[in-house]
């Protein structure tokens, strides 16, 4: 059986999807990255290895997400794709008539406009936290409610209370204020969900024509409170679909892309990766005032890849001797967390 593996390593979560050549997901997992992408990669690979069809052969690997290059080197990717394209491809495969994709993850959010199965426009928010999952998690902690309960509670609200959610800081103080006024937790949570939706629309949708059906994906799509808030925002006029696979759409998209590329040989490193030792460090190059933050990936103590140099002088083939010169500096390497 021919299989294709998609890996999506974001700063908050890491996702894996193993698919068959008919584009179906055979197995998948969703983990916290917890600041250590390599550990997350190994855990994910272990999971896939134990949920693997007998007689299956991985024919291709695609990576995506903010750590896509790192993941690509470690796992051995045939294709390294940006997360916007990966998410779009997954949504189009799931629902060919899709015209808009909302994706809200832990650290960023995206809006993708699709017409006739082709991406027409997109927007991505990477700066403002008020439109992402971390905003909700933060407030959940404040309210002492597990994030999993958040959505359900929001649905219990009898009425909504408007929370000024332009930015996280304001939202927080306004939330406390509303609590003191005597609003219950469900109302406040519903207010927060609505604030997030408003932020999302204000930040990303200005000047864009949103048409349905909308596919809503990313970790936050699990939150029924947010889904409801989107419905309310569009006064129930738009068809909004939350796919069952909403959490792993990026990984699925990466797998679909590598499947579509039909390449003959794969660079997949195999499940041995789980047992290899990796070191992911960074140091500041002080050879010129650019002070580039160079990220070094070592595999079994050998430099495998480097990123972050503006002038391009740090490449593995040339680095070994330069490196021994700098080796003492390696002492001051801080573990990349």
């Amino acid at each position: 059986m021919d299989l294709y593996l998609g890996v999506d390593v974001g700063s908050v979560t890491t996702k894996f999807a193993l698919i068959t050549s008919d584009k179906k997901i055979y197995s998948s997992c969703y983990l916290k990255t917890s600041g250590d992408p390599i550990a997350a990669l190994k855990t994910g690979l272990k999971y896939i290895q134990s949920h693997y069809p007998s007689g299956g052969v991985i024919r291709g690997v695609g990576t995506t997400g903010s750590a896509r290059h790192l993941a690509g080197v470690v796992v051995g990717a045939d294709m390294v794709k940006n997360e916007i394209t990966a998410h779009a491809v997954a949504a189009i495969t799931l629902l060919p008539e899709v015209r808009t994709v909302f994706e809200i993850g832990g650290q960023d959010s995206k809006l993708i406009i699709i017409r006739d199965q082709v991406v027409e426009d997109f927007a991505m928010n990477t700066i403002c936290a008020a439109g992402t999952g971390s905003f909700l998690e933060h407030q959940a902690v404040r309210l002492g409610i597990p994030i999993e309960e958040f959505g359900k509670l929001a649905l219990q609200a009898q009425q909504s209370v408007r929370i000024a959610g332009r930015c996280t800081v304001f939202a927080e103080s306004d939330m406390i204020h509303k609590q003191q006024l005597g609003f219950g937790k469900p109302e406040i949570i519903r207010g927060l969900c609505e604030a997030l939706v408003r932020n999302f629309i204000n930040n990303l949708a200005t000047g864009k024509t949103i048409l349905d059906p909308i596919v809503f994906q990313g970790g936050v799509a699990a939150n029924q409170g947010i889904v409801q808030a989107f419905h309310d925002f569009y006064q129930g006029k738009y068809k909004i679909i939350v796919p069952q696979e909403h959490g792993i759409m990026g990984a699925w998209g990466a797998a679909l892309l590598v499947l579509a590329a039909k390449q003959e040989k794969t660079s997949f490193q195999g499940f041995e990766v789980i047992n290899r030792s990796y070191e992911n460090r960074s140091f500041t190059c002080d050879d010129c005032p650019n002070s580039c933050e160079i990220v070094v990936l070592k595999e079994e103590n050998k430099v495998k890849a480097l990123w972050g140099s503006r002038c391009g002088k740090w490449i593995p083939e040339l680095v070994d001797e330069k490196f021994s010169e700098k080796e003492e500096k390696t002492l001051s390497f801080s573990k990349n967390s």
Binding site: S66, I84, V118, D121, I127
Partner: protein
């Protein structure tokens, strides 16, 4: 760059400002008013670094209102004086506002010791150097997308830019020029046809200065894309003089007319006009680069969105300032290129169906 040539030819020692680095930007951001435009912050950082290296005269071109560029030179001068540096500040205004001012500024710049013919020769050399640097950039845009190993091109360019630092005559320049162009033409290329074509429009500093726009031209070229940049410093200078505006510029302004009738400052009109020109020339997409708080470009942006709809050409708007992250920008650019590729495939599919 050009000033470095102008000064030695005039017999004045020149302290070239060190290339723009993260540190330059940090200095500028720290010293400039927080709501100043990004280009003003970067050039301020540049001046300070130049002064630290020993420069005693600073030369800056003044811009044309109604945007804030017009008084940036003044603010920069005040900031630098407040810091206690003892330097001359020469503001060169567009001769559109009087040739007398223009020449007296130039004269102060060179210390008043030189004859007009001497100045003329130096200016001519500097001008030719500027043209050559832009020619190099243009040539690399034309070939980069099909090169087997683009890093060879980087090395050739670097070498040539080093060589022109010490020249004193146009003849020397010409020799370096023909050598470099010949070497570039000899580079190994791949068999490729019909590359994706992207045009760059936007504010002159951000669209032109590769050290602040994350070298977007190189990034695209290395991805196999043919890039054209509508913005040119030489053009910008020419535009200072009433009679030397180029045909392309006139054309862009004419094209922009139906969408934007009034001068909005900066390069607002050019951004709109060049976007239309690219659309008419069959480019696959346009990337609009501008400083985050730039007013003329904000006006242009809202108009360009309509142009994109009317001409059915995708446009990626990238706002750049000290907070812009490289990773996020690369992700957007890559996704944009995917969009253009998908559109091409769709066109082929549609054509083969009908």
């Amino acid at each position: 760059m050009v000033l470095e040539v102008l000064y030695p030819a005039l017999g004045i020692e020149i302290v070239p400002p060190p290339p723009i680095t993260k540190k330059t930007i940090e200095i500028g951001v720290k010293l400039a008013p927080q709501n100043a435009c990004f280009p003003m912050k970067v050039t301020l950082g540049n001046f300070i670094e130049g002064i630290e290296k020993g420069a005693d005269t600073i030369f800056m071109a003044g811009g044309v209102g109604p945007c804030r560029f017009g008084y940036y030179g003044q603010i920069q001068r005040i900031i630098i004086e407040d810091l206690g540096y003892d330097v001359n500040f020469v503001l060169i205004d567009s001769p559109r506002y009087g040739w007398k001012n223009f020449f007296s500024s130039l004269k102060t710049m060179v210390g008043g010791k030189w004859s007009i013919s001497h100045i003329h020769r130096a200016v001519r050399l500097a001008w030719n150097v500027l043209r050559y640097v832009e020619e190099l950039e243009k040539t690399s845009r034309l070939v980069r997308w099909k090169l087997k190993d683009p890093s060879q091109l980087d090395r050739l360019i670097e070498k040539s830019l080093k060589e022109i630092k010490n020249i004193t005559s146009v003849v020397q320049l010409e020799e370096i020029r023909s050598n470099a162009l010949h070497e570039i033409s000899q580079l190994n290329t791949l068999e490729k046809n019909e590359p994706i074509k992207i045009g760059i429009v936007g504010e002159v500093y951000i669209a032109q200065e590769f050290r602040v726009n994350f070298n977007i031209e190189k990034l695209l070229g290395n991805m196999g894309i043919l890039v054209d940049n509508s913005v040119s410093t030489a053009e910008y200078v020419l535009n200072f003089f009433p009679l030397t505006r180029s045909r392309e510029k006139e054309e862009a302004w004419k094209l922009a007319k139906p969408f934007l009738k009034r001068f909005v400052g900066g390069e607002g009109i050019d951004t709109v006009g060049s976007t239309i020109r690219y659309a008419q020339q069959g480019f696959d997409g346009v990337i609009h680069l501008y400083p985050f708080t730039c007013m003329p470009e904000a006006v242009a942006k809202s108009i360009v969105v309509g142009v994109g709809r009317e001409y059915n050409i995708p446009i990626l708007h990238l706002a750049i300032d000290e907070h812009a992250g490289e990773a996020g920008m690369i992700t957007r650019v890559e996704a944009f290129v995917d969009v253009l590729e998908m559109r091409r495939q769709q066109k082929v599919r549609k054509a083969s169906c009908s």
